[in-house]
């Protein structure tokens, strides 16, 4: 069952992300894809994650597709103007890739090519709108297409943002622009997520709660300091700090968070960031 069918039928959907390699050695990528096959509804391929240049998301999605794994094509607006973005949407469709996660993208100075010229011709909202236009048979210049694509359009939201209202406002704009599902930024506080979902459910669009697997107390502290809208509470940091087997503890916490939040939303999106091979263990522990 495809991701869109799963969500339409009200089934709890699991997605996970894989970051394509920095280079052309795709062995690890393919191994991780193999491990995730059959365990998750779809796999996201990140698009130059954190503005770090690497193998492209579209090519990575195609590799997944060939392997029988349903991909979610992540697209950011940082590196391409509206011509390239629309063209890549068409390219994705002809390769059988229909799930697209429309993102604005991190700024270039956060990555490994800080001297690059940032594009941001479109943004997450106008990219969703562009994809919707293509589905109507027209591009952003109102020129007619020969054959029209069909997408399942996703977007991102940060439930832990403070204040959260601007995020909810932007979420509403994304829904109006065409977003059909949301994968959230990581959230470690079920109570905060519950409050967020209370507001977000009025949009009537499925939300997959984002889980970033913790590797150490230091990683949690780093995220608290540097990643917007992510807050790992002190109890979890202490738990990680005291654990002898950090890997096992990270898996346990991820599974626990999923269990605690699964009834509040329609699915979960696991961002393992280097621990992709542990995703099945997390799902086992969460009984998914």
């Amino acid at each position: 069952m495809s991701l869109s069918e799963k969500l339409k039928n009200g089934k709890f959907a699991v997605t996970a992300e894989i970051g394509p390699a920095k280079g052309v050695d795709i062995h690890e990528f393919m191994e991780n894809a193999e491990l995730l096959k059959g365990r998750v509804a779809a796999v996201n391929c990140t698009d130059q994650q954190s503005a770090v240049m690497r193998l492209g998301s579209l090519a990575a999605c195609y590799l997944l597709k060939k392997k029988g794994v349903e991909p979610v094509f992540q697209m950011t607006c940082r590196d391409r103007n509206r011509i390239a973005l629309q063209s890549d949407l068409l390219s994705a469709y002809v390769m059988g890739i229909e799930n697209v996660l429309c993102l604005t993208g991190d700024y270039v100075t956060l990555g490994d090519h800080p001297d690059a010229k940032p594009v941001f011709d479109l943004d997450s909202v106008s990219l969703l709108y562009a994809a919707r236009q293509l589905e109507q048979g027209k591009d952003l210049a109102s020129k007619e297409l020969k054959g029209t694509p069909k997408f399942f359009l996703g977007a991102c939201v940060t439930p832990g943002a403070d204040p959260v209202e601007p995020q909810l406002i932007k979420m509403e704009r994304k829904v109006r622009a065409g977003a059909q599902f949301f994968q959230t930024q990581a959230i470690y506080e079920p109570k905060t997520f519950e409050a967020f979902m209370k507001e977000a459910k009025k949009f009537g669009v499925p939300v997959l709660v984002g889980i970033v697997v913790l590797r150490s107390a230091a990683m949690a502290k780093f995220m608290n300091k540097n990643v917007a809208g992510v807050h790992v509470p002190d109890e979890l940091i202490a738990e990680m700090d005291q654990a002898e087997n950090k890997l096992q503890k990270g898996i346990e916490i991820a599974a626990r968070l999923i269990t605690e939040m699964k009834d509040m939303c329609q699915g979960t999106h696991i961002m393992a960031i280097g621990l992709e091979s542990k995703v099945p263990a997390i799902l086992d522990a969460a009984r998914l």
């Binding site: 509206r82 943002a161 601007p166 109006r176 917007a228």
Partner: protein, 228 residues
């Protein structure tokens, strides 16, 4: 000098939809030279708006609107008229609109677009910079320009990268522009502007110097120089 051009009247009327009382602001600087916001233009706008059933509570032509201290001084005698208005209509460049919005606790609408004149720009006033984009969106954003206030030039709302109201790119020195816009609109009870606007696909073609101005600006003069 900064070149501005009045927006089409129906667009201005659209901004004032649902509002009855308006205070007009002009400028004796560039806007006077461009005939977008001199006294005659302001009086002309007053008449046109009155014909549309609006009440003009007052007007003020400031010298110069890009100077925030002056804006405050010049507007203060008009406080009762401004208080009586639903909003202010500012008939100048984007800097003037932003400078006005920063000192009054009212919704501010831009009456003009600021055009790119190919390298010729006025004296920027710190945070009230204008990118001369030729299609002013300050009406939607509480008088804070998202093209200059947001590092990514986002015009459809904030990204997820702000922490404690600061931009993730330069958190030590830069506020998140959309956080400022959110706070301003919230204060004005105008958050719906952020919520319900259709997706904006910016026309960056308008950022090029318009053809009809090319013959009058430095850009053209430089071309003549090379011919001599």
């Amino acid at each position: 000098m900064i070149i501005s051009e009045l927006k089409p009247f129906p667009e201005i009327l659209g901004y004032l939809d649902g509002e009855k009382k308006v205070f007009l602001v002009g400028c004796k600087g560039c806007a006077e030279v461009c005939h977008t916001g001199d006294e005659l233009q302001v009086l002309d706008m007053k008449q046109k708006l009155e014909q549309e059933g609006k009440t003009i509570t007052g007007y003020c032509v400031v010298d110069f609107l890009c100077d925030k201290a002056l804006v405050k001084t010049r507007l203060s005698p008009h406080e009762p008229e401004i208080d009586a208005a639903d909003s202010l209509l500012v008939m100048t460049c984007g800097i003037g609109v932003q400078a006005t919005a920063a000192v009054v606790n009212k919704l501010v609408h831009p009456a003009a677009n600021t055009l790119n004149v190919g390298g010729v720009s006025g004296t920027w006033r710190g945070s009230e910079r204008c990118r001369e984009c030729g299609d002013c969106v300050l009406d939607l954003t509480g008088g804070i320009c998202p093209l200059t206030a947001c590092t990514k030039w986002l015009i459809n709302g904030p990204c997820g990268g702000a922490k404690n109201g600061k931009c993730e790119v330069e958190p030590d020195v830069r506020d998140c522009g959309w956080h400022l816009i959110y706070e301003r609109l919230k204060k004005l009870g105008q958050l719906d502007r952020m919520r319900t606007t259709m997706p904006i696909v910016k026309n960056y073609g308008k950022m090029q110097p318009p053809k009809h101005l090319r013959s009058t600006i430095m850009w053209a003069l430089e071309q003549q120089e090379t011919k001599v």
